[in-house]
């Protein structure tokens, strides 16, 4: 191994700093999964009959499905009977005052650097925090309420806004969509719900923070965002988990509905525990995220910075149904050590003059494998649809892999689809050039990689962009080798 490569190794081999476990008493479902588990969860959440039926339908469908194996990731078969499907902090937090929040939970959020109070006061970011299966706190609700914006936990929405849930639940990601979507639909525990009324521009970033805390637990949250005609919302999602030797499953669903002239921006900084250097432990992140541009000129924009998880399997997608609607996907996926990522997007063009843009930056270091998988489909009626895709891969060191699987299906002759792909290495020349200007190798790698990701970071809200850069630096620590 050359000196530069050795340094790369050192730079990317650092520890996960969110790996603590909080000592919160929790109320768990018995291990394993059958119809009674589904009934248990539904009962715990005091759900209406129709929702239980909906879950059971999904569960029965799930039983008929096989775990998918087409992704370019490798892991031992998951024993779905070994997982706890419901875990809730025992002390039921009241939503009236932050003072009543379990001190342990509060301490957890402080450790995560998301003091809810601080956020509320300073940043003007409304936060919904989900620990294990339950949403523990939603801030800023009153301010939002004055504008008619609903931002609450999914469970509350089921009780307070059943007509909206009934109308939209599963409308973008039906339970029949895929194996994990079916599983989630059967056992989802909580998540966030967000509704922006007609013509309202949400005045602050809405944010959900997900945390898996209990051992042996799977996390199955659902997020549903509805943007009515002419509205705008920017939504942020962050996630962390303790360091544990066993693998934990996270199978979430995010559904977005963007009506005529509405815009939804969804940003994720995903930092689930990636496992140790030898690939022990870590989160299996099998997520289905999809939005639909229902009306004309609707827009959905996904931005993701993926640095965590042992395995990531995730394709935030947009169905461009309305004419002139726009779908965007900006992604930075970093894999280090033994991590595996198979991520990308699907842009389904149905309406006329629909436009999509895909910018994907994959960065592989250590012994990791990083795949981009994307589909661009132009439907028969999508006159003059346009897509531009750019998929770049950056390799750091000589033991990692980068793969690109683009799928393009064009059903209309007037469409214009462009795909560009590059693969490059962080060059020893680049590092030496920086060294010669007095910049250390570790800083040089950071500088080079940040430059490489610039187009994507530019899409993130400011505070998140800073966060993402820091996270990138941590993920890359020990990568130069």
């Amino acid at each position: 191994m050359s000196e530069d490569l050795k340094i790369l190794d050192e730079v990317t081999n650092s520890e996960y700093k969110y790996g603590f476990v909080s000592n919160i008493e929790s109320d768990n479902a018995p291990k394993g999964l059958d119809e009674s588990t589904v009934r248990f969860i539904s009962a715990k959440k005091n759900e209406p009959e129709w929702l239980l039926e909906w879950r059971l339908k999904a569960f029965r469908h799930w039983l008929t499905l096989e775990e998918p194996t087409w992704a370019n990731v490798h892991y031992p078969k998951i024993d779905f009977q070994e997982i706890i499907y419901y875990s809730a902090p025992k002390k039921k937090p009241t939503l009236n005052s932050l003072d009543e929040l379990d001190p342990e939970i509060k301490a957890t959020f402080d450790k995560l650097g998301i003091s809810l109070i601080e956020q509320q006061r300073l940043a003007g970011v409304a936060v919904d925090a989900v620990i294990d299966s339950v949403s523990v706190k939603t801030t800023f609700r009153e301010t939002l309420g004055e504008l008619g914006i609903i931002f609450c936990s999914f469970s509350e929405a089921v009780h307070d806004h059943p007509e909206l849930i009934k109308k939209y639940l599963g409308s973008v990601v039906p339970h029949t969509d895929n194996f994990y979507a079916a599983l989630n639909s059967a056992v989802f525990s909580d998540g966030s719900f967000c509704y922006i009324p007609k013509g309202v521009r949400c005045p602050m970033e809405l944010s959900t923070y997900f945390r898996i805390n209990s051992a042996g637990t799977g996390q199955f949250e659902r997020t549903l965002i509805i943007a009515e005609e002419g509205s705008f919302v920017s939504y942020l999602e962050g996630c962390t988990a303790p360091m544990r030797d066993e693998n934990q499953l996270h199978a979430a669903i995010v559904e977005i509905v963007s009506h005529t002239d509405a815009t939804v921006k969804y940003s994720t900084v995903q930092n689930w525990y990636p496992g140790d250097k030898n690939g022990k432990g870590g989160i299996y992140n099998f997520v289905t995220k999809r939005g639909i541009c229902m009306g004309d000129r609707a827009k959905i924009s996904w931005t993701q910075v993926e640095t965590g998880s042992a395995i990531t399997w995730k394709y935030p997608s947009v169905i461009l149904k309305g004419d002139y609607s726009v779908g965007e996907f900006y992604s930075v996926a970093v894999t280090n050590n033994m991590q595996q990522a198979d991520t990308g997007t699907k842009m389904i063009h149905l309406g006329k003059k629909t436009k999509s843009i895909i910018i994907s930056k994959g960065i592989s270091c250590g012994k990791s494998q990083n795949s981009y998988r994307g589909l661009v489909r132009i439907g028969k009626k999508a006159e003059h649809a346009r897509n531009f895709s750019q998929c770049d891969s950056l390799l750091i060191g000589d033991k990692c892999g980068a793969h690109t699987f683009p799928y393009i299906e064009v059903g209309n002759k007037t469409a214009k689809v462009e795909h560009e792909a590059t693969t490059s290495k962080v060059g020893e020349d680049q590092i030496f050039y920086c060294n010669q200007r007095g910049i250390s190798t570790e800083d040089a790698v950071n500088l080079i990689v940040n430059g490489y990701c610039k187009e994507v970071f530019n899409q993130l809200p400011m505070e998140f962009a800073v966060e993402a850069q820091k996270l990138l630096a941590i993920s890359l620590e020990g990568s130069v080798g």
Binding site: F432, Y433, N435, R437, G438, I439, S440, I448, G451, K454
Partner: protein, 252 residues
Amino acid sequence: MLLIKNLQASVEGKQILNGLNLEVKPGEVHAIMGPNGSGKSTLASVLAGREEYEVEGGTVQFLGNDLLDMSPEDRARAGMFLAFQYPVEIPGVSNANFLKTAVNEVRKSKGLTAYDSKEFLQIMKEKMKLVEMDKAMTQRSVNEGFSGGEKKRNEIFQMAMLEPTLAILDETDSGLDIDALRIVSNGVNALRDGNRSFIVITHYQRLLDYIVPDFVHVLYKGRIVKSGTKELALELEEKGYDWIKEEVAVGA
């Protein structure tokens, strides 16, 4: 300031430098010339600490320290600057950001406080004049899409910003037209302050009309075989290197 004794170095198992001796004192400008393959760029790379170059023997002292024992970044922080023959592109990193990182690293190593953005912009503005550089260039990614001339000008600009004690110019004149050559040379001359030293590596006497050296050395087969003043460069321009090769052959 720089004292090279009996330096021997190889790259990919091939010996390139065979006992090179050179002393550079503060404020001096040394030109190094020589036929292709004589080891000129190898010398520059070894001094800057490029990893592929293996030092087989000899010593190099820089400001009283053992240079060969220092990492490339420590050499840079100590005041050694290499203007690259082929400057490297760093996409997405603006020239300004790159330089700010570099300048503040160097300042940190000297126990100085980092410049804030405002101070830095001010200094950048002054130094840009030296190489007649457009402000837009500072916002462009490092060397990305720069013409050959722009890259070389950018090297001199970086040198002006980093204010080194010793600057090594590795064939900075190659690929430059007359105007660019004048601009680059003016920039270098403006940085000659009686203390700062230069090692100017070049193939062509032409550059030395602009940057007038105190000494000219001929490098051949990895050794300095002849030293003189700027007149030696003119003689080489006229007669080529064959007579020197013959002298070396006779001497051996």
